[in-house]
């Protein structure tokens, strides 16, 4: 949808890796310890980087008037919002998935937990992008306060579910339940959050 440069893809990836490497540095480089932390650490880093990446999704378009054209075009606006978030997730969320593979090696995660981690991250980061879009829309032209307050608390269920899925995979338990719940959240979230985002953007026009 929008033309982007290659640095867009790489920066969230590097951000993610650096945040991941913060943990062993700040906490302890011990292997067993790190392994027990790993799912949580990867999830926290993924949430933070997808949030940080999406925060500015509308601000430039709003400032320079592109968002006006967006609402004037004949396509339904919530589809456009969805397309925009999807594009954004493809260029930022996707590299994060790759990076999470690398970092699970660095943090000594067992290989068996990679599949649930990737699945839950796909669902989770996309949900986060949708949430982040609302936050971004609400805080357009203002400081990041609304974005931070609104988005982060809502992201806690995702965080819980995601880490639970990965941890239970590490313990060889069934994790499909968690993934199902996350899938359901996403299914409700896509139309609901897109519509709310449109409303949130329009608020800035009054």
């Amino acid at each position: 949808m929008a033309f982007r440069r290659s640095s867009t893809y790489i920066t969230p990836l590097i951000f993610f890796l650096i945040v991941i490497s913060f943990f062993p540095i700040a906490l302890s480089p011990d292997q067993d310890f790190l392994r027990s932390l790993a799912p949580g650490v990867i999830w926290i880093a993924a949430l933070l980087s997808s949030l940080l990446a999406i925060e500015t999704i509308f601000s430039e378009d709003f400032r320079d008037g592109t968002l006006d054209e967006f609402f004037i075009s004949n396509d339904p606006s919530f589809v456009l919002v969805f397309a925009k978030v999807l594009c954004h997730w493809l260029v930022t969320g996707f590299p994060i998935l790759l990076a999470s593979l690398i970092s699970s090696l660095i943090l000594y995660l067992p290989v068996s937990s990679l599949l649930p981690m990737i699945c839950s991250l796909i669902l989770g980061t996309f949900f986060m992008s949708l949430l982040g879009a609302i936050g971004a829309a609400l805080s357009l032209g203002k400081s990041a306060i609304l974005s931070a307050i609104i988005v982060l608390p809502f992201s806690i269920p995702t965080l819980l579910m995601g880490t639970a899925a990965v941890s239970s995979a590490i313990d060889y338990q069934d994790y499909s339940g968690f993934l199902l719940i996350m899938g359901a959240m996403l299914a409700i979230g896509v139309p609901g959050l897109c519509l709310l985002t449109v409303e949130a953007i329009l608020l800035n026009y009054e």
């Binding site: 440069r5 790489i10 480089p29």
Partner: protein
């Protein structure tokens, strides 16, 4: 040498020599190290990775210092070519650092039983790699190239202040990795027949760096100045 056309002419002359010498020394060093030096009594043949690992690790750091010097020159005297040097050196330094990281990991698997540990030496190398990544990322995100050069000069200057601090952190940290055994002042603690090929490898790696740098810089110069008359003249001459 400060002006691009002059550099281009000058480098055209020495490039074939540099190409020849650096590749010979590089291959000779590696061959000597990898095939003709004695086997280590503790580690067996794995230790031969040292001939790639150590030179590239040390080069990763020297290139950064080189870049900081270029950065200073770019900032203070606005010499155009030193900015280009800085830009051309960054990916080479990043690659050497990456090679050090990779060979270190490969070496770590048999000797320490793991690909990666969070010790000081390893972590600081990783940070160095991140800083390289930041420099390259910043340069590619700025479209005006002279401006981008100045931007990464700022970054490499800030970076050089951080490097000794990272190095210092060895003292406060548990470490699995060898402390430095080489220095210019004291005698080596290795047997000479292991040490000599390593020295040759060092020389070879530095020469390869010089070669890659010259080639990168030539490409950079041509791309930057593609609209200038001397470039088109140059290539017309080459074709004939």
């Amino acid at each position: 040498m400060g002006s691009p056309p002059l550099f281009f002419k000058w480098s055209s002359k020495i490039l074939p020599w540099l190409l020849f010498i650096s590749i010979t020394v590089f291959i000779a060093g590696l061959l000597w190290g990898l095939f003709y030096s004695p086997t280590d009594y503790k580690q067996g043949d794995v230790y031969r990775i040292i001939y790639i690992h150590v030179p590239s690790a040390i080069l990763g750091q020297s290139i950064f210092m080189f870049m900081a010097i270029c950065g200073f020159i770019t900032m203070v005297w606005r010499v155009k070519i030193s900015g280009m040097l800085l830009k051309s050196a960054a990916p080479i330094g990043a690659s050497f650092t990456l090679i050090a990281l990779l060979t270190g990991s490969i070496w770590g698997k048999p000797t320490w039983g793991t690909w990666w540990v969070w010790d000081a030496r390893l972590t600081s190398t990783l940070i160095l790699f991140f800083i390289y990544a930041a420099i390259i990322g910043l340069h590619s995100s700025i479209d005006n190239k002279t401006k981008a050069d100045r931007a990464i000069s700022i970054l490499s200057l800030a970076g050089i202040a951080i490097i000794p601090i990272i190095k210092k952190s060895v003292d406060w940290w548990q470490t699995l990795h060898q402390p430095s055994t080489f220095s210019l002042t004291s005698a080596p603690s290795m047997t000479p027949d292991m040490y000599q090929p390593l020295l040759l490898c060092f020389l070879g790696f530095y020469l390869i760096f010089a070669l890659l740098l010259t080639m990168n810089l030539r490409a950079e110069v041509v791309i930057r100045e593609k609209n200038r008359s001397w470039v088109s003249k140059q290539f017309l001459n080459l074709e004939r």
